[in-house]
Amino acid sequence: MSHAPTPSQTVGPFYGYALPFPGGSEVAPAGHPDTVTVHGYVLDGLGSPVPDAIVETWQPAPDGSRTGLPGSLRRDPSSGKVIGRDGVDFTGFGRTPTDAAGRWFVRTLPPGGVPYLCAAVFARGLVHHLYTRVYLPDLLDEGAEAADPLLQSLDAERRATLIATRTDPRTYRFDIRLQGDDETVFLEFS
């Protein structure tokens, strides 16, 4: 721990032509029958949507592997364009800029071994990104909830901010509230 870390700085407003990439939200192989969609808004302390945020997700593969695979931004060597994942390797990494309405989504496969997706939020006005987790209620039976150290450390009201709402069998709503009474639980790793 001898090396002092490089400080964080805001992602600013102009990452839009740089960080997002085609298929960034499409983590699941196209047409995979187990695909789930997680979607929601990023909201500020006034409850207004944040149209200039990026949400990144990271998760184990369905078999529980945590090593990830390359190929999230697979490129065409002739044109240099991003041609997206190959539909075979599960990379585990997603990146979605919010749209003009402040909405984000990821289409993915349920993670193996844990009931959650990891998420990091970046935005203009946010000087240091924020980590949270998206718990999928279908993976969260009583046993899993009791075994999860983070959920166990939170009271019911705070815990609820981390659990996505199922709106149809394969779709979950997860809003990220940066500030306010129903502020999302954000995490720190040290």
């Binding site: 721990m1 001898s2 090396h3 002092a4 870390p5 490089t6 400080p7 964080s8 700085q9 805001t10 600013g12 407003p13 102009f14 990452y15 839009g16 032509y17 740089a18 960080l19 500020d44 302390g45 006034l46 207004s48 944040v50 990144e56 990271w58 998760q59 184990p60 945590r66 090593t67 990830g68 390359p70 931004l73 490129r75 240099g80 990494f93 844990v114 990891c118 990091a120 970046f122 006005g125 946010l126 000087v127 240091h128 990104h129 924020l130 980590y131 150290p149 983070l150 450390s153 940066l178 500030q179 306010g180 009474d181 502020e183 639980v185 954000f186 995490l187 720190e188 790793f189 040290s190």
Partner: protein, 261 residues
């Protein structure tokens, strides 16, 4: 919202540089001494006001946390041309050609190998190739301002680009951003993720900029400023800047090694 959550009003529009400077001084006096990262509640950067949590972050110490692992990138994710921002169009961009080189390390000083580094920046006139940037400086048809590379076995990265220009923003009256390059970095764990900005030595705008000043500790701020390195300059071609990056945060391998110790 309850009254407790309704903080002081955001700083109003149209503040002078002097008023912002006193807010910067106030925030610095209130900050935790030696803090490595900026406080998310940072009034001089006005748009932080409604975009930072009021509650404390919840510490996660679970050694099984998925965040202690992270995404992988490889040869399919970058092309050899991506690290040269001057070679993405038919012609040469305008501006002062530079190379920016350094190493990505973890806090134990170990190189971060094979990980993705992404950069984006304004052109030499201080304009981004982004529709929402309406600063009346010229766009450059030969410059987009975005690059990627993977770190090598030594944690090294390198980009060829042009020196970005300063640009105005509307944080306060006469607000100008010093020249900077935005960086996005991945470590071996998701918990080491970093987005930051690199600055240039001797830039006269640095003391006036609430974005770099959001890092309240002077030594930490200095770690955001690259070094001019004459040995990196290429005769008749480009000027060289060096900037090493240290990623904060734990990763799984670390936990194991500490467990062994």
């Amino acid at each position: 919202m309850t009254a407790r959550d309704l903080p002081a009003h955001p700083l109003p529009d149209g503040l002078s540089q002097q008023e912002i400077d006193s807010e910067v001084a106030r925030a610095q006096a209130a900050a935790e001494p030696g803090a490595h990262h900026p406080p998310r509640d940072y009034p001089p950067y006005r748009s932080s006001h409604f975009r930072h949590p009021h509650r404390s972050l919840i510490p996660v110490r679970d050694p099984e946390a998925v965040e202690l692992s992270g995404p992988a990138f490889g040869v399919t994710d970058v092309t050899a041309l991506d690290r040269d921002l001057t070679a993405q169009h038919a012609g040469e961009p305008l501006g002062e050609r530079i190379t920016v080189t350094g190493r990505v390390l973890d806090r134990a000083g170990r190189p971060v190998r094979g990980q993705l580094v992404e950069v984006w920046q304004a052109n030499a006139s201080g304009r981004y190739a982004h529709q929402l940037d309406q600063h009346p400086a010229p766009l450059d048809p030969n410059f987009t301002g975005f690059g990627r590379c993977l770190t090598d076995d030594d944690g090294g990265y390198s980009f060829t680009t042009v020196k970005p220009g300063a640009y105005p923003w509307r944080n306060h009256t006469n607000a100008w951003r010093p020249a900077h390059i935005h960086f996005s970095l991945f470590g071996t764990s998701f918990s080491q993720r970093l987005v930051t900005q690199m600055y240039f030595p001797g830039d006269p705008l640095l003391p006036y900029d609430p974005v770099i000043r959001s890092v309240t500790d002077q030594a930490a701020r200095e770690r955001l400023v690259s070094t001019y390195d004459h040995d990196l300059s290429v005769p008749e071609w480009s000027l060289g800047y060096r900037w090493d990056i240290v990623l904060d945060g734990p990763c799984a391998t670390w936990t194991e090694e500490e467990g062994d110790a």
